[in-house]
Symmetry: C2
Subunit: 379 residues, 2 copies
């Protein structure tokens, strides 16, 4: 590794072929600038700039000529310089806390792609696990990102205000912070929880349990509230309950062993990955059958939920719609300061074998996991 710094010509044995044009190799190769191109074409630098700005006034013929020359010469505008002038970086910061839940990687990919389609790039930040994003925001501000999307990490309301004072949009994705005026895009977790309660009632289950995710997240609280409120309304008591420590396979596994002694016949897990851990605990460790002994429901509809080994009934989040809402909000409010909006989009109950195949859907033609879009229209 050190040899590259000073290739000693006196060292023998090394069959290094080095023509060594000492002047050549140190050529930093500065990329061509708009002024270079301008000079070559005998026009002013402004013209180059205008040629690349769709809204500038420039003769079509001139633009063509410049674009052709640029393509030929390999000129590309320097985005950093442009950002400095325009104060717009066309970069969106995304803050995530962990990729252990497969819901997030998929979300990240689709979000990134959707942003790319409208010309926005993604600067990715990982909040240290268990912490809020306050520590990351100053960095994001330094990088002049045009907006932030905060998924899977809480933000303090003070820091939220600080960010909003910059006049740039912020979006809380799939979580909400009550005391804050921040735009939120989320699945209707309360309604989702209620739908699960309805399902358990319909199935005639009596000893109903709930296994939570991270206790301090709004998703967890809302799902639980929707669930228990509806149960109460139906006159069904919540039989067993475990306050969650975190979303995760291990946590689901452990929590299930903890509530097993109360013999639940149905369990709602705060999300899919936790439910999968729960199913494994039920079957592998407790030797119980799903759904015969225990019906299991999760939340999110991650790809694995559809796998033959699990066939997990779950509440599918309307990811497509959530992303669309996010992107359209961002593009609409990138210019001017944005009034906060709260978007709560309905999820969809996907019934699979983990709750038994129920009457409503006799045709179960989705053998493999969902590919492409779901034919059934949400809304």
């Amino acid at each position: 590794m050190a040899d590259a710094t000073a290739p000693d010509p006196s060292v023998a044995g090394a069959s290094v072929k080095e023509p060594r044009p000492i002047a050549e190799q140190t050529k930093p190769h500065r990329p061509m600038t708009s002024r270079d191109l301008a000079r070559a074409l005998g026009v002013s630098q402004s013209m180059i700039s205008r040629a690349f700005s769709s809204q500038a006034s420039i003769a079509p013929a001139m633009r063509m000529q410049i674009m052709d020359a640029a393509a030929a010469a390999g000129y590309r505008p320097n985005v950093v310089a442009r950002s400095l002038s325009t104060r717009r970086s066309n970069i969106v910061g995304i803050v995530m806390a962990g990729m252990t839940n497969p819901f997030y990687p998929e979300l990240l990919e689709r979000l990134t792609r959707a942003l790319q389609e409208v010309g926005l790039q993604t600067l990715l930040f990982h909040a240290p696990p268990g912490e809020d994003v306050d520590g990351q925001l100053p960095l994001l501000m330094q990088y002049q990102v045009d907006a932030v999307i905060i998924a899977s990490a809480p933000i303090s309301s003070g820091m939220a205000q600080t960010w909003l004072a910059t006049g740039r949009p912020a979006i809380l994705f799939n979580r909400s912070v009550p005391g804050t005026d921040v735009t939120t895009v989320a699945c209707d977790n309360v309604a989702g929880g209620a739908a699960v309660a309805d399902l358990f009632a319909r199935l005639g289950r009596k000893r109903i349990g709930f296994v939570g995710g991270r206790a301090d997240t709004s998703t967890n609280a809302d799902r639980e509230r929707g669930f228990t409120d509806r149960l109460n309304a139906l006159g069904l008591p919540l039989h067993a309950h475990t306050a969650g420590t975190d979303y995760g396979y291990e946590q689901g596994y452990a929590a299930t062993l903890r509530i097993a002694p109360s013999k639940p016949d149905a369990i709602f897990y705060a999300n899919d990955i936790t439910a999968l851990g729960g199913m494994d605990a039920l079957r592998q460790e407790l030797r119980l059958r799903v759904p015969e002994d225990v019906a299991v429901v999760g939340f999110d509809d991650i790809p694995m939920a559809a796998w033959p080994a699990y066939r997990l009934t779950t509440l599918r989040q309307p990811v497509e719609a959530m992303i669309a809402a996010t992107v359209s909000y961002l593009t609409a409010h990138m210019e001017s300061a944005a009034p906060p909006e709260i978007h709560v989009l309905p999820g969809q109950l996907i019934e699979r074998a983990s709750t038994g195949l129920t009457p409503p859907r006799t045709n179960r033609r989705r053998a493999s996991s969902r590919s492409g879009h779901d034919p059934s229209s949400p809304a």
Copy 2:
């Protein structure tokens, strides 16, 4: 899907509220600049700049004073402006092709974190599935990223040269392109494949099969080659073989059904996610037992491989070491043009129940998935 574009407020479940203090919100609030701070302190702008540059010559007392004032006033250097001057953005572009394989999200998270620790941010690009990254590189160049890490997508050798001509480092992560002089960091896939062959031989399996991943990837080719070469050396014929179409759960499932008629008693899948699909096909669809009827081995050691439902024997990639190699290469060669290096790091066979618990390791104390660092030091 069309409903998301314009969230109709009349749709139940979707709500939009806006307090809208119309006068307040239009304040542009330009952030403070170094000149503002300088004026406030009665010093020159250069001093502010130097205070934030660790290598600049500035009186310690002055720096302290400036830093304090900056903290008090909330001043933070504008990274975009700095990038323009220094031609260094401190941003690394990472190109990925798909997050369906859980190996990649985890990698992305750890890589991002490791980069953050040395002051580098991550600009994330997704190559359209099935395409090479050539289309993305011009964008990356425009964004003046200091380096690229290409994981999970091929690059043409021409484009690689174009990139390298910029004098910025590029790293192919977990893949290699033969005809190109690009630095590569990868697991020793050939040795890994060979280790699996050894394992099957040790288990006394005779009807051995291989299920490939994406045919045009170096990982797939190397794993297969290492595997079959060693089998040949051991005098074992490759009994069944399926050219892969792609890495993925579905592909593993389908490929397994395809080779099932040949009655293999051991199958090596080119990666874990494919192997999981294969196991589900074997057990759910073909009613075969693993490992009694068929021994199964994957590659990567994704978290799910350790789940009780699978307990998949696999070849763990030395992710920690691969990331370390990547980061140290980047930091070392960010300044000057970099000679290409090839890092091939050894993986580790993790034996689990999918091949039967074999004598070598009686103590199986890794019940939960790996946490923390791997004890084996890969030098």
